[in-house]
Amino acid sequence: MQQLIPAFGFGLITASILAIAAVGFTLQFSVTNILNLAYGDIMTACAFAAYLANHAGVNIWISLVVGALFGAVFSMLLNRLVYFGFVRRGTRLFGMIIVTIAVSLIIQNLLLAIFRPTFFTYEASQGPSYQLGSMVFTASQLAIMGIAVVAMVCVHLLLTQTQLGKAMRATATNPGLARSCGIPTDQVIDAAWLVSGALCGIAGVALVLNTATFSETTGAAFLVPIIASAVLGGIGQPYGAMLGALTIGIAGETAAALMSPAYKDVVAFVILIVVLLVRPQGILSEIAAAKEVAA
C-alpha cells in the first residue's frame, strides 16, 4: 500500500511522455484525418537521430532538439511524398491505416537493416534525484515533465489562438472549402505535420531517456498506449489526449502496485474500454461528436 504514492509519481513520468506522444498523434488525426500507425516507428527513428547526434558528442538536451527537428522534417516529408499522394488518389481512412502500417514495416525494418539488431544507449546522466513526499524524480525526469507541460500549452495556444490553428482545423474538416476561403491548405498541412512530427520526436527521445536503452522496436511497442490515451481523451482533442495520458499512465503504475504488474497494461486498457462505454466519445468530445453528426 505504501507503494501507491511512489507508483503515482512513476505514473506521472510515463504520463508525461505519453502525453507528448498522444498529443502529436491526435493532432495528426484531427488535422489530416490520418490514423498514423507508423507513429511509433517514427518515434524510434527520431530516437536514432538523437542517438547519432549524442554519440557525435552533442549534449543530450541538444540531441533532443535534433530528434524533434528530425521528426518534424521527416513527418512532413513522409506526408508529402507518401501519405498525401494516397489521399489524393482517393484512399480513405481505413485504406490509409494500411498505408501507414506498410510505412511502419518499412521504417522499422530499414532501421533494423541499418543499425542491426542490437541495443543503443544515450550518453546521458540522469542528474541528481529529488524527493517530493514519497515520490522520487531525477533531474531529467523533471525535465521531461516540464517539456510535456510546455508542449501542451504551446499546442493549445496554437490551436485556439492562432490563425494557423484555425486553418488547420478548417482544412481537416473540409479541405476544398478551406481552399476557397483562401487558406493555402498544402502549407497548412505541412505545418501540421511539422508540429506533430516535432512532438513525435520529443516523445521518442524522452521515451528512450526513460527506458535507458532502445532498439528498432522501442517506439512501436509504445504505440498502443499512445492510441489508448488519444482515444480515451476523445480523438482530436489535445487536452483530452493529456487527460487520457494521465489516466493510462497513472492507472497502469498504480495497478502494478496494487495487483500484479503483469496486468499493468490490461488494467489501463480495461479502464479505456469502460470509460468509452460510459462516454462513447471519450472524455472530451465536442469535436468528436460534431464529426459524428457530420458523418
Binding site: Q3, P6, A7, F10, I13, T14, I17, L112, P117, T118, F119, F120, T121, Q126, S129, V136, T138, L207, N210, T211, A212, T213, F214, S215, T217, T218, A221, F222, E253, T254, A256, A257, S260, P261, A262, K264, D265
Partner: protein, 408 residues
C-alpha cells in the same frame, strides 16, 4: 521419402548444405546469428580438409521468426527447395514443438538448441541435443547463489517462453537448498517503466536477483533499480551474456556496475583444449562471413553448433554417404566412445583416423559429448562474470550431478 536400410543411398552431386534453422527476426533474433557463427567455421574447416566424401559444404540461414506458424512453412520450404540439404542446427524452443515432427519425418538430422523439457525424453530418431534443458539453468543459478551465501532471492523473469522456462526449477531448487524466494515477478516485455515493479522488489529486500528477460526489458528494469535504490547482485542465464544483453544493460547501468554485480549461468564449456583451438581459429578466420567473430569465442551454444556440423560430417564419413537416412544411425558412433577409440579434435583428424580404419571419439569445442538413450547430451554448468575488458571470467562450475539432484 522411403528410407529403409536395404535401399540404396541417394547419390549427391555438388555442395552439401547445412541449415541454421532458427529465429533471425522477432524477439529471439539473437539466436540465429549465434548459431550461424558456429556453422560457418565448421564448414570452412571441413572444406579446407577437402570436403566430405569429395563434396564441399556450405551453411544457409533459415528464419523461423520465432513463431511456430511461420516456422512450419519455413521448414517445409527448406526441406523442399534446398538442394543437397543433409543436416541442420536448430530449431530453438520457440518453434521446436511445431517443427521437430516435420523435420524428423523428412529424415533430416537436427541438433536442436531447444531447452524445452518436452524433449528430455524425445523419441525422434533424427533429434539430437548437445545443450542442457532450459530448466537446468534455474537449478544452477540457485546452487551458485546459495553457495555465495544469498538467502533472499528475487525471481525477475520476462513473460516470454524461454525466460519462464527457468522459473519453476529455480523456485523449487532454491527452496530445497534452504533459501527463500521473497518475490517472483513476471515482467511484461518492453515497457517504458518498471519503477513500480522495482519498488515492490526493493520492498521485499532480496539480496540477489535472478533474471532473464529480453535485453531492453532488463536494461530498463535494472537501470531503474539503480536510480531508485542502487544495484544488488544479479544472476542471469545464458541469454544474459549475449552481446545484445551486455550492450543494452551495460549501457544502461554502466559497465562498471555490471561487472561488480553480475554473474550468469551457462552450459559449461571449457573453451579450451585442442578442439576449441581449432574452432576458435576457424571462427576468427571467418571474419568476412561472421561479423565480430570474437564475440562468439566462448559461447557454448556457438561451440556446440560448430560441433554438430563436424559430428554430422564425421558420421557421413563413417556411413560413406551423405544420405541422412544412412548416416543418421552412425551419429552416436563418432562421439562418446571412451574406450579404445581414437580421440579426435577436428574434422581433419577424424577423417584421417577413419581413413586409417580406426574407431573415433570426437571431443568437441564444447567438451566431451555423450548421448543418452534419448540422444541428449547434457553437462555441467558454469557461472561466469563480466568484466569491463570484455572477457567473461569463470566464477564457479556446477556439476551435472548436483543439478540432476535438484531438478524436478
Amino acid at each position: 521419402g522411403s528410407s529403409t536400410q536395404g535401399a540404396k543411398p541417394k547419390t549427391y552431386t555438388g555442395t552439401l548444405t547445412f541449415a541454421s534453422f532458427n529465429p533471425f527476426t522477432g524477439p529471439d533474433a539473437s539466436f540465429g546469428p549465434e548459431m550461424a557463427a558456429g556453422c560457418i567455421p565448421a564448414a570452412n574447416t571441413i572444406n579446407q580438409a577437402g570436403g566430405v566424401l569429395g563434396h564441399q559444404v556450405q551453411c544457409i540461414a533459415v528464419d523461423t521468426r520465432g513463431d511456430p506458424a511461420d516456422a512450419v512453412p519455413a521448414a517445409q520450404k527448406m526441406i523442399a527447395s534446398t538442394e543437397n540439404l543433409v543436416g541442420m542446427n536448430g530449431p530453438s524452443s520457440d518453434e521446436a514443438l511445431a517443427t521437430v515432427p516435420i523435420i524428423d519425418r523428412a529424415h533430416l538430422p537436427m541438433f536442436a538448441d531447444s531447452g524445452q523439457a518436452a524433449f528430455d525424453k524425445s523419441t525422434y530418431k533424427y533429434f539430437y541435443r548437445l545443450t542442457p534443458p532450459d530448466d537446468a539453468a534455474g537449478v544452477a543459478m540457485a546452487i551458485y547463489a546459495y553457495n555465495k551465501g544469498y538467502r533472499r532471492g528475487a525471481a525477475v523473469f520476462g513473460n516470454d517462453l524461454s525466460s519462464q522456462g527457468n522459473v519453476p526449477n529455480l523456485l523449487t531448487a532454491f527452496a530445497k537448498l534452504g533459501g527463500q524466494i521473497v518475490i517472483n515477478q513476471t515482467l511484461t516485455l518492453d515497457q517504458s517503466s518498471y519503477r513500480t515493479e522495482v519498488t515492490a522488489l526493493v520492498a521485499a529486500s532480496p539480496d540477489v536477483i535472478f533474471t532473464e528477460a529480453d535485453p531492453q526489458t532488463d536494461a530498463a528494469y535494472l537501470s531503474q533499480l539503480q536510480q531508485l535504490h542502487g544495484l544488488i547482485p544479479v544472476i542471469g542465464t545464458q541469454p544474459t551474456v549475449q552481446p545484445p544483453w551486455i550492450k543494452a544493460v551495460g549501457g544502461a547501468v554502466g559497465r562498471d556496475a555490471l561487472s561488480k554485480n553480475f554473474a550468469a549461468a551457462q552450459p559449461f564449456s571449457t573453451s579450451q583444449g585442442p578442439a576449441w583451438d581449432v574452432y576458435n581459429k576457424a571462427l576468427l578466420a571467418a571474419g568476412s562471413e561472421v561479423p565480430q567473430p570474437d564475440q562468439w569465442s566462448q559461447d557454448p551454444y556457438t561451440e556446440t553448433d560448430y560441433d554438430a556440423i563436424i559430428i554430422m560430417a564425421l558420421a557421413m564419413l563413417e556411413a560413406k554417404t551423405p544420405d541422412p537416412s544412412f548416416y543418421n544411425a552412425l551419429i552416436p558412433a563418432v562421439v562418446g566412445n571412451a574406450t579404445g577409440a581414437t580421440e579426435v579434435h577436428s574434422f581433419k583428424e577424424g577423417m584421417d583416423a577413419i581413413a586409417a580404419g580406426k574407431k573415433i571419439n570426437y571431443v568437441g569445442a564444447g567438451g566431451p559429448i555423450a548421448f543418452d538413450e534419448y540422444q541428449n547430451s547434457t553437462g555441467a554448468f558454469e557461472l561466469i562474470g563480466y568484466s569491463t575488458n570484455g572477457s567473461n571470467p569463470q566464477l564457479a562450475v556446477v556439476s551435472a550431478e548436483d543439478i540432476a539432484k535438484l531438478r524436478r
